[in-house]
Amino acid sequence: MPSSTVENYLKAIYIGTNSLEPPQRLLPMGQLASALSVTPGTATTMVKTLAESGLVEYEPYAGVALTKAGQRLAALVTRRHRLIELFLVQVMGYSWDEVHDEAEQLEHTVSERLVDRMDAMLGRPETDPHGDPIPNAEGMVKPQKKVQTLLTCPLDTTVTVTRVIDQDKDFLRFIEQHNLKPGEAILVEERDAAADSVRVRGSHDRRLTLGTRAASKVLVQAVHVLLLVLLSVPAFAQATQKPAPPPRTALSGYMDFHFNNPEFSDAQLDFHRFVLLVTHSFSERIRFVGELELEHAVVEGLEEEGELELEQAYVDFLLSRSFNVRAGMMLMPIGIINERHEPPVYYGVERPFNDTVIIPTTWFEAGAGVHGELGRGWRYRAFVVAPLDAAEFTAEEGIREGRQKGAEANVGRPAVTGRLEYVAIRGLTLGASGWSGRSGFQFRPVFDVPVSLAEFDGRYSRRRLELRGQFSQVWIDNAGQLNEALALRVGVNPNIARVLRGFYGEAGYRAISNASYGEVGAFVRYENFDTQFRMPGGYVGLPEFDRDAWVVGATYWPDPDVAIKFDYSLVRSRSSVVQAPDSFNVGLGWWF
């Protein structure tokens, strides 16, 4: 019986010569040495020994080929190797990326009888898990159909993966992860020579862009037209069209449709938000972004049914990575939700209470500022914007109604806002935001109402898990004087606090994740929010505005951009008289 070294040399020459393009017959020694990870000198010495044994034919400076006897021995050791691989996968439950090393050991030790029993047990298979042909007991291989690689097969034509010719574990895992295993039907959409890449489309319309090196290792065969019909893969039955390059002007948007059923009142259907985004690139360095939002569907005269708001309309001058200038209508860089509020990206039908009554999302103002990345995961924004109007502050919703929203906004004494973010750790975003401005410009005689806000947040997401937390506090200086001035103006004491505070923590987990049917996630959130946290001297906080809430629910994403949400919101206040209503909510939100 030949030694394992001899068998490995014969097998390497067998595989190497089978990959040669005719009329080349001899395998270059350098190629053989490289495959065996030995020096050319070592390979030559061994090949000369094999030639003396009559197993190979060696031509100095030309290469090596197997003789008939060598061919048979090599085919049999290859047969053992490939059958063992298949047996380990099919019978013993190994994954296909871990069988090669096991088979390398076992191929030299198993008997022909054992191999034949395995062969019978597996049903006389013709290929191993990687699609490599398995020689029969006589060392013969069934004639192979003509195959091509992803680099040579026709474009926009469905092909079946027949073989993967790299046994590297990482590569095989990559292939498995992206559904490119033998038997998978795929289609090459585009080859980009400049980018050295190949884009393929697989089942469920999955797209994958591969480097040409990886693409050269995936062998494919054309799928018969009849088979294609039988497979009935809708994605491949469609006429294929190459995607156009991204347009200079792009339209996008999101929508939020809600069913709210609160305690003590009738249920409502509310088309809460219809938002259109438009962007335009004047050049790579000058961009426009606009966001127009219709809230609650109808805007009609003076009736307060809905709102039509220009939430963003700015031009970015992208000067460098660390310093860029923005001017126009901008989102305030505060908290998790204000800048990141597309319905599929947060749990819950409604936004968190904290992001309504403490941070008045969606908070947008006219102004200008700078933003950029400082390196090592640090990012910043710093804007000068129109201040809040203290004359509109309330006890229940704090500073929310004080937003000027860029409508002939008073900027006699502009406010400043900023955010520092740390995103260097994969999945983790930590942020700190601030806002400071003087908000008493409506009052005569003039007096100052300095308002400031500090906010800290963290968000961690990894695969199926998502955790969030946010803390925010608002200070309204001269709140006592503000209450007196407003009481004189409207005849009622508004009872505005000097400090508002809120925080929440949320955990969500995508329990079901299926490529065909989408994902399902459940979440729980605890919120505490008090718009009467600290009162000015002589004023007593209203306990009904010191609230906390538990919100539990689930989201189903049939598509990553479509979210069907359910939640139950349990709200409690410190008041024994005024009860905060619980509510059951259903939402349908989408982004395109």
């Binding site: 096991e102 076992l106 030299h108």
Partner: protein
């Protein structure tokens, strides 16, 4: 039958490992070697790339693999033809090879992905 085969194969594996010791011979012609590109994995989500700063030695052949955690994003390296479309969450990976000469290469999201789309930028820094 299957149990017997498992026992037999496991025993053989142990015997073979004990008998042969470390082997200096491996077979296969397409094993990865020193020429493999350096793999860089980047995740994209509204509104950041992670990592957003990649430092390499000039001339390093990079294989950049990109996955999205949410919607469809783009990956455009300014000043080059590289402009990939990242499939949505759970729908695959986009990858591209890039061999930078010394310099800074800004990349950005090239598919409108939401209110903070303009913040999605990063840089590849290739040094001598």
């Amino acid at each position: 039958m299957v149990v017997l085969m498992r026992i037999a194969l496991t025993s053989l594996a142990l015997l073979a490992a004990a008998a042969s010791g470390p082997s200096d011979v491996v077979s296969g012609f397409s094993r990865t070697g020193a020429q493999e590109p350096q793999v860089v994995e980047i995740t994209a989500e509204r509104f950041s790339f992670n990592p957003s700063e990649i430092r390499v030695k000039a001339g390093t052949r990079l294989e950049i693999r990109l996955t999205s955690e949410d919607t469809m994003h783009g990956f455009h390296i300014l000043g080059t033809d590289i402009d990939l479309e990242l499939p949505k969450r759970g729908r695959g990976v986009a990858s591209v090879t890039f061999q930078p000469t010394a310099g800074r290469y800004t990349f950005e999201c090239s598919r409108l992905c939401g209110a903070g789309h303009a913040f999605m930028r990063g840089v590849i820094i290739a040094t001598e």
